[in-house]
C-alpha cells in the first residue's frame, strides 16, 4: 500500500473578483517523494500550495495531512510542514542567524539544536560567511538561499518549495538543486512548484502539470515525456515574414515527420532519428522558397508534454 502524506480533495479557489485560480484539484503525495507542480505563470501553483498549508481558505474542498484536515493555525501544519515561499520572506533587519534562530525558537526547537541547525544550514547553503550580516545586505541569490533555509530549520516532514530557483546564477542553481534532491534521502517529502521544465524534470519523482487552475496530467517525468510520442524534436526558426503555419502543414505531408506544429515562433517537428533527417529537411524548405535561420535539436521534454496538452509553450506565460 502506498503511504500518502498529503492528500487534497477537490480543492477549489475562487478569489474575490471571481477569478477561479484553482478549479478542482485532487492529488495524493507519497511519503518521501519529490512532487512537482509544473505550470506557467498564473496557473494556480502558489494558490494551491497556500491552500494546502492553511494560509488560504479554499472556496471548496480540503487538504489532509497524515489523514488530518488542515485548518488555519492547525497543529498538524505547524508540526509537519515547512514552506519556502515564492517571494523571499525575511526580516530584513535581522541577521541570517537571527532570522533562522527566530523561527527555530518559534518552532520550539531546543536552543542548542536550533543553533546547530542554523550553523549547518548556513554552511550547506554557502551562507556561513554572511551569518552575521543583516538580511537586507544580502544579494538576491543569497536571500533566496536564506529563504530556503528558513523553511528547513524546523526539519519538517513535508517541505513545500514554491519556485526555489529563479534569479540564481547557473552554478548556484546547481548547488541548490543538488541540495534539494538530497532532502528526500533525509526523510523529507517535497512538494515543488516551478514553471521550469528542466527543474521539474531533474528534481521530481512525479509531476503534475497544471494550467489555468486545472490539473492536466500527473505522472513520472519519464512516462510523461514518452507519452508525447516517439522520436526527437527539431525546432526550426525561419526568417521573419515566413508563413509558419503553412510550413508546418507542409511538413505534415512528409512521411517521416510524426508531427509538426507552431510554438513560440518556431516550427516544431517530431521525427525519428532526426539528425540524419536534417539534410532532407533543409532541402524541403529550400524547395518551398524559404530559408532556415536556426535549428535546435533535442529529445522530448516536459515542455513538449505541456505543448501537447495545451497547444502553448510554457514560456508563453513569461
Amino acid at each position: 500500500m502506498v503511504d500518502h502524506v498529503i492528500e487534497t480533495e477537490h480543492l477549489k479557489m475562487i478569489y474575490p473578483g471571481g477569478l477561479e485560480a484553482v478549479k478542482d484539484l485532487s492529488i495524493k503525495v507519497r511519503r518521501g517523494e519529490v512532487f512537482g507542480f509544473l505550470g506557467p505563470n498564473g496557473a494556480g501553483k502558489t494558490t494551491a500550495l497556500n491552500m494546502m498549508v492553511g494560509l488560504l481558505k479554499p472556496t471548496k474542498g480540503r487538504t489532509l495531512i497524515d489523514g488530518e484536515e488542515v485548518k488555519p493555525w492547525s497543529r498538524t501544519v505547524k508540526e509537519k510542514i515547512g514552506i519556502v515561499p515564492q517571494e523571499t520572506i525575511l526580516w530584513e533587519n535581522l541577521t541570517c542567524t537571527e532570522n533562522l534562530m527566530l523561527l527555530a525558537n518559534l518552532y520550539e526547537v531546543p536552543k542548542e539544536e536550533g543553533q546547530a541547525r542554523t550553523a549547518r544550514l548556513l554552511e550547506e547553503l554557502q551562507l556561513a560567511d554572511k551569518a552575521d550580516a543583516r538580511a537586507k545586505a544580502l544579494s538576491g541569490g543569497m536571500k533566496r538561499r536564506l529563504n530556503l533555509a528558513m523553511g528547513l530549520v524546523n526539519e519538517p516532514d513535508v517541505i513545500l518549495l514554491d519556485e526555489p530557483s529563479p534569479g540564481l546564477d547557473p552554478q548556484t542553481r546547481r548547488v541548490l538543486w543538488e541540495y534539494i534532491a538530497d532532502l528526500p534521502k533525509k526523510g523529507h517529502t517535497l512538494i515543488l512548484t516551478t514553471h521550469d521544465m528542466d527543474e521539474a524534470d531533474y528534481l521530481s519523482d512525479r509531476v503534475a502539470i497544471i494550467d489555468n487552475g486545472e490539473l492536466l496530467v500527473l505522472d513520472e517525468p519519464r512516462k510523461l515525456k514518452a507519452s508525447v510520442g516517439e522520436g526527437d524534436v527539431l525546432e526550426l526558426a525561419f526568417d521573419e515574414g515566413a508563413d509558419l503555419q503553412k510550413a508546418a502543414e507542409d511538413f505534415t505531408s512528409l512521411g517521416y515527420i510524426i508531427s509538426a506544429n507552431v510554438t513560440a515562433g518556431r516550427v516544431v517537428i517530431r521525427t525519428k532519428d532526426a539528425m540524419s533527417r536534417l539534410p532532407e529537411v533543409f532541402e524541403f524548405v529550400k524547395e518551398h522558397d524559404s530559408e532556415i535561420r536556426d535549428v535546435r535539436y533535442r529529445g522530448n521534454t516536459l515542455e513538449d508534454v505541456f505543448i501537447d496538452l495545451t497547444g502553448r509553450a510554457l514560456r508563453d506565460g513569461d
Binding site: W73, K78, E79, P85, I89, W91, N93, L94, L103, L106
Partner: protein, 449 residues
C-alpha cells in the same frame, strides 16, 4: 518563552532601523523643546486673577473648651494672662479678625502681590453659597472658588498646637498630646481643572497658604522656644519663619509646566502610529504569514508586540523626562513620587496607544498607509484628549488618553495624588477595554483570516 523571543526580535528591529528610532526619539523631544521655547517664559507675572471666596469658618476650635497645655508656660514667660480664645485672637490673628478664615482672606490673599512689580495677585469677591460661586466660575467670571471650611480655625489651632508640641519635644520635655484633638481640614480650590487661569490662580492661592502656614509654624516655634531658659536649641535668630517660604513660590509656574503633561501623553500616543507601521510592514512583507505557520500562538504575537512597545515607550519616556527636567519644568510634588506617578500613568497611556495601533493596523495594508491613516487618526484624537488645550467634548472623557492627561496634570501641576489615582484608574480601565478590542480585531482580521 515565545512572547519574549518576539518582543526581543521587535526591539532589535526597531533599534536597528536608524531613521525610525531617530524619529521615534527626536519627535517628542523636538516637540518639547518647541513648546519650551514657545511657552517656557510664561505670561508676564502681572495678571490679577479674579477669585471667589466662600468663607464658612465658624471661628471655633479646641481652645474654646480647654486652654492648651503649654499656655501657662507661655503666660509665665511672657508675663501675659491669656485664656485659650484670647491667645488665639490676640496672637494668632494679631487682633485683626475674628476667625482664621477671615484672616486668610483679609491679611493673606488680599495683600498678596507679585514681588517684582507690586501688582496685586487677586481680586477677591466673597460669595454666600457654593452654588453661586461655582456658577460664576463656570461662566468664566472668576478663575476659581476658594472654599474655607467651617473647621478652618480649629485646624489652625491644631497647627499651632502641633508646632508648639514639636518645639517642646525638641527640648526633651515630655508633654501629652493626642493627635485626635487636632482638626484636619482642607481648603477647597474649585475651578475647571484644565483651565489655564485656574491652574495659575490655584497654584498661587496654595502657594500663599503654604507660605502662611510655614511662617505661622516657624513664628510660633520660635516664640515658644525662646521662652525656655536655654533658648531655642535648634532654631536660631529670626530666620525661623523663613525656612519654608520657598514652598509656594508661584511665579515659576509657566505655560510650559502646564503644557508638559499633555505633551508627554501626546508623544506616547504616537506609539499607535509606530505599532501600526511595524505591523503593516509585517503584513506587507508577509512575514506575518511566516509567523503564522510556526508554533507561535496569537497570544504570543499580541504579547510580544505589547512588550516590545511597552519597552520602547518606556525608553522614550525616560528620555522625555530627562529633557523635561533639563528644560526646567516645575513640579508641584516631590521628585520621587512625581516621577513614579508619571511613569505609571505613562505605562497606561502606552498600553492604550498600542491597542489603538492594533486596531488601526487591522485595516491598513502597508507602512505608508499606516503612517498616513495613523497620523490622521492620532493627531485629531490627541486634540480631543486635551493634550494641547482643554477641549469640551464629553465623549472624549471616555478615552484613556484623556484620563491619563488629567492624571498627569494632577501629578505634575497639583501633586493631588487622590485625583491622580482616580484618573489613572479610569485610564487603566479604558486602556484595557481598548486593548481587548484591539486584540480581538487584529486577530480576526490578520491572524485568523
Amino acid at each position: 518563552m515565545k512572547v519574549i523571543v518576539l518582543a526581543i526580535k521587535g526591539i532589535k528591529e526597531s533599534f536597528r532601523d536608524i531613521k525610525n528610532i531617530a524619529f521615534l526619539l527626536a519627535f517628542p523631544l523636538m516637540f518639547l523643546v518647541l513648546f519650551r521655547v514657545a511657552f517656557g517664559f510664561g505670561p508676564e507675572a502681572t495678571n490679577t486673577y479674579d477669585i471667589l471666596v466662600l468663607d464658612q469658618d465658624d471661628g471655633e476650635g479646641p481652645w474654646d473648651q480647654t486652654d492648651p497645655q503649654w499656655l501657662p508656660l507661655y503666660n509665665a514667660a511672657m508675663g501675659t494672662n491669656f485664656t485659650g480664645p484670647e491667645f488665639f485672637h490676640a496672637v494668632i490673628l494679631e487682633g485683626k479678625t475674628d476667625t482664621a478664615g477671615q484672616y486668610f482672606v483679609d491679611e493673606i490673599l488680599s495683600t498678596a502681590i507679585y514681588e517684582d512689580n507690586e501688582t496685586k495677585m487677586f481680586n477677591i469677591k466673597m460669595v454666600s453659597s457654593r452654588a453661586e460661586g461655582e456658577d460664576m466660575v463656570s461662566k468664566g467670571d472668576a478663575a476659581l472658588l476658594v472654599v474655607i471650611p467651617a473647621n478652618y480655625s480649629s485646624a489652625i489651632q491644631g497647627v499651632v498646637d502641633q508646632a508648639i508640641v514639636d518645639e517642646v519635644r525638641a527640648h526633651s520635655i515630655s508633654v501629652n498630646a493626642s493627635s485626635d484633638q487636632y482638626a484636619h481640614t482642607k481648603l477647597e480650590l474649585t475651578g475647571e481643572l484644565g483651565n489655564f487661569d485656574f491652574s495659575f490662580a490655584s497654584s498661587m492661592v496654595s502657594g500663599q497658604l503654604m507660605q502662611y502656614l510655614a511662617i505661622l509654624e516657624g513664628t510660633v516655634r520660635y516664640a515658644v522656644g525662646s521662652t525656655f531658659p536655654d533658648g531655642p536649641a535648634t532654631l536660631e535668630g529670626g530666620s525661623v519663619g523663613l525656612v519654608f517660604v520657598s514652598i509656594g513660590e508661584t511665579d515659576e509656574f509657566t505655560l510650559f509646566d502646564w503644557q508638559a503633561p499633555g505633551m508627554i501623553i501626546f508623544a506616547l500616543m504616537m506609539t499607535a502610529i509606530y505599532v501600526t507601521a511595524t505591523l503593516a510592514t509585517e503584513v506587507k512583507n508577509k512575514t506575518l504569514q511566516r509567523l503564522r505557520l510556526t508554533k507561535m500562538t496569537s497570544f504570543d504575537m499580541m504579547g510580544g508586540t505589547t512588550l516590545r512597545w511597552l519597552f520602547i515607550g518606556t525608553f522614550q519616556l525616560i528620555i522625555m523626562i530627562v529633557v523635561i527636567w533639563a528644560l526646567g519644568v516645575n513640579f508641584a510634588g516631590e521628585f520621587g513620587p512625581t516621577f513614579g506617578a508619571i511613569f505609571l500613568i505613562s505605562l497606561v497611556a502606552i498600553l492604550a496607544s498600542i491597542s489603538l495601533g492594533l486596531i488601526i493596523s487591522a485595516f491598513v495594508d502597508d507602512p505608508e498607509q499606516a503612517g498616513n491613516i495613523g497620523t490622521a487618526i492620532v493627531i485629531p484624537m490627541s486634540f480631543l484628549t486635551g493634550a494641547f488645550f482643554p477641549m469640551d467634548v464629553p465623549a472624549a472623557q471616555l478615552l484613556p488618553w484623556t484620563q491619563a492627561s488629567l492624571a498627569m496634570k494632577q501629578v505634575m501641576l497639583y501633586a493631588d495624588w487622590e485625583a491622580a489615582t482616580t484618573h489613572t484608574m479610569y485610564a487603566l480601565v479604558a486602556a484595557v477595554i481598548v486593548f481587548i478590542i484591539g486584540v480581538i480585531i487584529f486577530q480576526r482580521k490578520r491572524l485568523r483570516a
